[in-house]
């Protein structure tokens, strides 16, 4: 899927097929790639992800931090770069999960290496300390913005 002479670059903007590659990552001419370097720390073409975890309420603050630190080392070891975790604190859940009505919410941003996402998701799924987790890819313009509100319901 490199430059194809039969497939000129300046057409087909509604196609989802990446038309050329930049540093191994497919880019499409429809998406501006240059000019976003100012919102990113270093390289312009690294995706930022965001993970949100709900840690079980039986732990205390320190154990929660240890749990999160474990996931941060996984991110770092697999070639990503973990940002500072944002602890929302203990919050009431909107509905019961596994007979629990509250949990510790932790949100953190990170960049992923090749194996990071697979490995992180696998370990999150099997770890008993985490009730729920979600990993979301952030749009390039949104990454590294101040995160909204911390705990609102200190249940």
């Amino acid at each position: 899927m490199k430059e194809n002479p039969k497939f000129p670059i300046n057409v087909v903007c509604n196609s989802s097929i990446p038309l050329l590659h930049y540093r191994g990552n497919p880019i499409s001419p429809c998406f501006p790639v240059a000019g976003e370097a100012d919102t990113r720390p270093e390289e312009a073409n690294i995706d930022t992800y965001e993970a949100m975890l709900i840690v079980i309420p039986e732990l205390d603050e320190e154990q929660v931090e240890n749990t999160v630190a474990r996931f941060r080392t996984i991110i770092d070891r697999t070639g990503g770069e973990a940002g500072e975790p944002n602890h929302w604190g203990r919050r009431k859940l909107a509905y019961e999960i596994d007979h629990r009505t509250d949990g510790f919410y932790v949100v953190m941003e990170f960049t992923a290496g090749e194996r990071t996402l697979v490995e992180l998701k696998r370990i999150l799924r099997v770890s008993d300390d985490v009730l729920r987790h979600m990993v979301v890819k952030l749009p390039p313009s949104y990454a590294h913005k101040p995160l909204p509100e911390p705990a609102e319901v200190p249940a």
Partner: protein, 83 residues
């Protein structure tokens, strides 16, 4: 050619166009973590409100709906209220 038009149907109010709240604030990404903002777009039963109620533009309605679904998954918003 064909049918005779008799003006607009009765009982239709003239529409006042009101810009979508996300467009007005230049929101590029509807964040699922802003559950307090998303609350405005669900009914008191917890259902996603229709576009004619929320007044969002098609793009932002779609993004808001998926943000609500993400927030539900993380127990920030309820799936059902009052069961």
């Amino acid at each position: 050619m064909g049918k005779r038009r008799t003006g607009p149907p009765r009982g239709v109010r003239p529409t006042k166009s009101k810009p979508c709240v996300f467009c007005k604030e230049n929101v590029a990404y509807v964040d699922y973590k802003d559950y307090n903002v998303l609350r405005r777009f669900i009914s008191d039963r917890g259902k996603v409100r229709a576009r004619r109620v929320t007044g969002l533009c098609p793009q932002h309605q779609r993004e808001a709906a998926s943000a609500i679904k993400r927030a539900r998954e993380m127990a920030l918003l309820p799936y059902v209220v009052g069961r």
